[in-house]
């Protein structure tokens, strides 16, 4: 009896997310690979005290980063504007410009949100490690910088490294091009980014796709995330105007 992972609406797929959850949001930053419909459903759900884990976060709305010119950008700043998020763990929370101020910087300045800025390579490797059963690893990145403050260092063959820990989450909201009914996912282009690693690192992985197909509808050579990692799948409406 195949397990049914398909949900009929984005609202249903996120309905049980409780306040206080940690939420990974896939993609890189920008429209491609961002689970925009799941994000909007989570905002509409209204739960608070969320910790958001993302990469480039909340800079599209004020700068247009990664969005086609003719569309109004949507980004992770929505959870700070709505007051739902109290913390973000990310690599790129603010654009170079402060005019206008991004929602995340605004929340940070007003002391409504904690911002934990992690080098991008360390952030993705911490997420990957969580999924891969590796509790900690050493990286050369960040040594001698503010990132190293309060962190354990160790030398290997004459070079200094930082000890970094796995980063888990309660939920991952991710985006793929296609899912089969088992939950295997296919990605396209640069929309991969943080999606495949996040799928492995959360207790519950929820995926937004353009299309759901039968097993075999994804070439076995093109599966980017294994069905084992995927808990819930929601298909977008045909002709959705968002990228």
């Amino acid at each position: 009896m195949p397990v049914n992972k398909t949900f009929n609406s984005f609202a249903d797929a996120v309905a049980d997310i409780p306040p206080g959850s940690s939420i990974m949001i896939g993609g890189f930053g920008g429209a491609g690979g961002q689970p925009t419909r799941l994000m909007l459903a989570l905002r509409d759900l209204g739960v608070g005290d969320l910790t958001i884990i993302g990469n480039v976060a909340g800079i599209s709305k004020t700068t247009g980063y990664g969005w086609p010119d003719d569309l109004e950008p949507i980004d992770q700043g929505m959870f700070f504007e709505s007051g739902q998020a109290t913390k973000i763990i990310c690599s790129f929370p603010v654009p170079s410009t402060t005019n206008p101020l991004s929602e995340i910087e605004k929340a940070w300045r007003e002391d409504r949100a904690e911002v934990d800025i992690v080098p991008q390579g360390t952030l993705i490797e911490r997420i990957r490690s969580a999924g891969a059963g590796i509790p900690a690893f050493y990286t050369p990145t960040g040594v001698g910088t503010p990132t190293a403050e309060g962190r354990e260092t160790r030398e290997f063959e004459g070079r200094t490294y930082l000890l970094e820990h796995a980063l888990h989450a309660d939920y991952a909201l991710i985006r793929a091009q296609k899912a089969d009914t088992r939950g295997n996912l296919q990605y396209i282009g640069t929309s991969r980014a943080f999606n495949p690693a996040m799928a492995t690192a959360a207790k519950v992985t929820i995926v937004e796709v353009d299309e759901i197909v039968e097993p075999g509808g994804i070439d076995a050579e093109r599966v980017g995330t294994l069905s084992t990692y995927v808990d819930r799948i929601v298909q977008r409406e045909a002709g959705d105007p968002l990228p």
Partner: protein, 228 residues
């Protein structure tokens, strides 16, 4: 350094800085270009030089941007722009992308800077008075690329030198910069000895003119060339 000096000749514009930096990119290299002046290097590659451009978000082998309005949101570069689809590209996820960087497989990265110190420390991610900044891929690139080339303006307003004895801004990575290309000079950093070696000056500029606008002491090995 903050006195208002009269420039002896015009400074190079951003495109000219990028053009000079591009001359140091070796054929066949895997290269990551930062946002701003570094990104312009791609427009000025010497004839016959073919590079593999890497973007942190997961693409290798892209070239120029798609025409306005024709960008594909699923083919983005790390600056949030949309390159054209060209043959020979490869797409991959962020784990793989940072394996490439952290593992030392990027031959050269060209980055911008807020400050560079005499021993090659780089500060380019946060202005202290703002109190918040974005690291992105900069720390991984600066710490791990085989060669780190800085392309930037030599000074900021009031002729404040960006080439300093010690960085006062938060570091991106210590002792990582190999070469600096600015609007008035090309400087190599001999990190082992903490020496800044002036290799070239902009047309109409002298060693002393550049030194007068540089907080850290400059050195020269033999003749100083002309930027072109």
């Amino acid at each position: 350094m903050t006195q208002n000096l009269i420039d002896p000749a015009p400074r190079l514009d951003r495109a000219a800085i990028a053009k000079r930096a591009a001359r140091d990119l070796v054929d066949g290299s895997t290269v990551n270009l930062g946002i701003g002046i570094p990104a312009l290097c791609a427009d000025f590659l010497p004839a016959g030089v073919e590079l593999r451009y890497h973007a942190e978000n997961g693409v290798l082998g892209f070239e120029d941007l798609a025409p306005p309005g024709e960008g594909d949101p699923n083919l983005m570069d790390a600056g949030g722009k949309f390159p054209r689809h060209v043959p020979g590209m490869a797409f991959f996820d962020s784990v793989e992308s940072f394996n490439l960087i952290r593992g030392g497989h990027i031959d050269v990265t060209v980055l911008g800077a807020l400050q560079v110190s005499r021993n090659g420390d780089l500060a380019n991610w946060m202005i202290p008075k703002r109190g918040i900044g974005s690291i992105g891929g900069a720390m991984d690139l600066a710490a791990n690329a085989r060669r780190v080339l800085i392309a930037m303006e030599h000074t900021v307003r009031g002729d404040i030198s960006k080439i300093v004895n010690e960085c006062t801004f938060p570091l991106t990575a210590p002792a990582c910069v190999d070469e600096i290309v600015t609007d008035i000079a090309v400087i190599e950093i001999d990190r082992a000895r903490g020496r800044l070696v002036l290799k070239e000056v902009a047309p109409g500029w002298s060693f002393d003119d550049v030194q007068a606008r540089t907080e850290a002491e400059l050195d020269a090995d033999g003749t100083v060339g002309l930027m072109a």
